[in-house]
């Protein structure tokens, strides 16, 4: 299948990887786990750069939050105690839903992001957490919001090297809850709709802050600002929740494909958002 590949490189540093990427121009691809690249089956690839030996596998605590190296696998994310302690383990839960064990042992966070699928399981909670990505280029490293990175065209993403995902520490509140909901046709499926939510409560159920992001309902994971605004500052009850879910329904613009119709995805967005908000409330100890 990949019979045009002339060389397979394993650079030992980001610097060397970048140099190889520059040299090869358009027919060079970076490979980490390979779980998306190989499936894509692009016969025109001439050079492959395996970046799993460039020191990009790590999960570190930084002053402002967590930093995850791009070649960290889904399995490593799932099992990480550090990640388990962030946002109620939201990211660890999302990683656990990223396909089978075999896939999770190879698929990397960087790969999941750079592939840019609208249903990418990790992108949805990361967008809810205001994650940023660190891109290494010929002129050094730059940081940008994940949402901006995902909005770039695929070619542009391929020419740069995503090296790190940085997650700012969410507000520390005793009464906070997080939820990840994924609806697939079977247990191992691409999301028909997915939801990542987080709510911080003040005293007496007043919502201090709210995060709500959905996947597979737009070209990229969607933060539903209107729903978040409908919640912040109000006491969460079923009526307020319904308002927020209605805002979700208005905000999403899914497509019809072989997995589901747009109509059903829209309905599911409303229902799953409601369930996510309920779970957040439950975790935070706020009875609805």
């Amino acid at each position: 299948m990949f019979d045009s590949v002339e060389a397979f490189y394993r650079p030992a540093s980001v610097h060397e990887a970048l140099r190889l990427l520059q040299r090869g121009k358009g027919q060079t691809r970076v490979v980490a786990g390979g779980t998306d690249l190989v499936v894509e089956g692009d016969r025109s690839i001439r050079f492959l750069i395996d970046i799993t030996h460039a020191g990009l596998t790590y999960i570190k605590r930084k002053a402002t939050g967590l930093a995850i190296g791009a070649t960290t696998t889904m399995a490593e994310l799932e099992e990480s105690a550090l990640l388990g302690g962030l946002a109620g383990g939201l990211l660890a839960r999302a990683a656990a839903s990223c396909g089978s064990i075999q896939i999770r042992n190879m698929a990397t966070l960087g790969g999941n992001m750079s592939n840019g699928s609208p249903a990418a399981d990790m992108a949805v909670p990361l967008v809810a957490l205001d994650a940023k990505v660190v891109i290494a280029g010929p002129r050094g490293r730059r940081t940008m919001p994940l949402t901006a990175y995902l909005a770039e065209p695929a070619e542009m993403r391929r020419r740069s090297l995503l090296v790190e995902v940085a997650i700012p520490e969410p507000p520390r509140d005793k009464r906070a809850g997080w939820s990840f909901q994924k609806f697939g046709r079977t247990a191992l499926d691409i999301a028909v709709v997915s939801v990542a939510a987080g709510i911080g409560f003040g005293p007496r159920g007043r919502v201090k802050w709210a995060r709500l992001a959905l996947g597979a309902v737009a070209p990229a994971p969607l933060r539903i600002a209107a729903a978040e605004q409908a919640l912040v500052g109000r006491v969460m009850d079923r009526a307020v929740m319904a308002e927020a879910c209605a805002a979700v329904e208005r905000a999403v613009h899914p497509i019809t494909d072989v997995r589901a119709t747009a109509e059903y995805r829209t309905e599911l967005s409303r229902v799953l958002s409601g369930r996510a908000l309920e779970e957040c409330a439950g975790q935070a100890g706020w009875a609805l």
Binding site: F2, A7, F8, Y9, V31, V38, D50, S100, Q102
Partner: protein, 172 residues
């Protein structure tokens, strides 16, 4: 430092405990190379990472070889189903699969057996849910998964009590 442009390259690795040197094309997929090297227990089922029939253990972790480049396993240790039995003595998971009727056409069996072994090595007393998770990436169209799950649980239980008697009705 100039990287040479090659049409073939060498990969050094260990397969089932034996050091190997493979000559491959840089774009060769691991599944194709393994079968070319005679490891027929690694199966081609979908080439999309969906069915798990191509599973091997890479540094003790189950992975789909259809989605990997052979060059990626440089310096690694891999285990295929051919490496499980010790001569005529089957691995406990293999025994259990036979005892419990968990093998029908046998095409998905090597992959399942390897994932089960990886599970039991890491987690000697798994719950049924954990076994289903371990086998989750192995599509089987013959068994309905019930007997494979039972076989893995039985192998775990037997390891707890090594001298437990075999079920009376089983004959060879």
């Amino acid at each position: 430092m100039k990287a040479p442009v090659l049409k073939t390259m060498e990969v050094r690795l260990t397969v089932n405990g034996q050091p190997q040197v493979w000559t491959i094309a840089p774009g060769d997929l691991l599944l194709d190379v393994l079968r070319r090297e005679g490891y027929f227990g690694v199966k081609r089922g979908c080439e999309n990472g969906e069915c798990g029939a191509c599973t091997i253990l890479l540094n003790d972790k189950p992975v789909n070889t259809c989605l990997m480049f052979a060059a990626q396993v440089e310096g690694c240790g891999i285990v295929t189903v051919e490496g499980l039995a010790d001569g005529a003595k089957l691995h406990p998971v293999q025994e259990a699969f036979l005892d419990h009727g968990a093998v029908q056409c046998g095409f998905c069996t090597p992959g399942m057996v390897l994932s089960a072994k990886a599970l039991l090595d890491k987690c000697p007393h798994p719950t049924e849910e954990q076994v289903r998770e371990a086998l989750g990436g192995h599509l089987c169209r013959c068994t309905g998964y019930r007997k494979p799950v039972e076989a893995v649980l039985a192998a775990a239980k037997k390891a707890k009590r090594p001298r437990a008697a075999k079920p009376a009705e089983v004959t060879r």
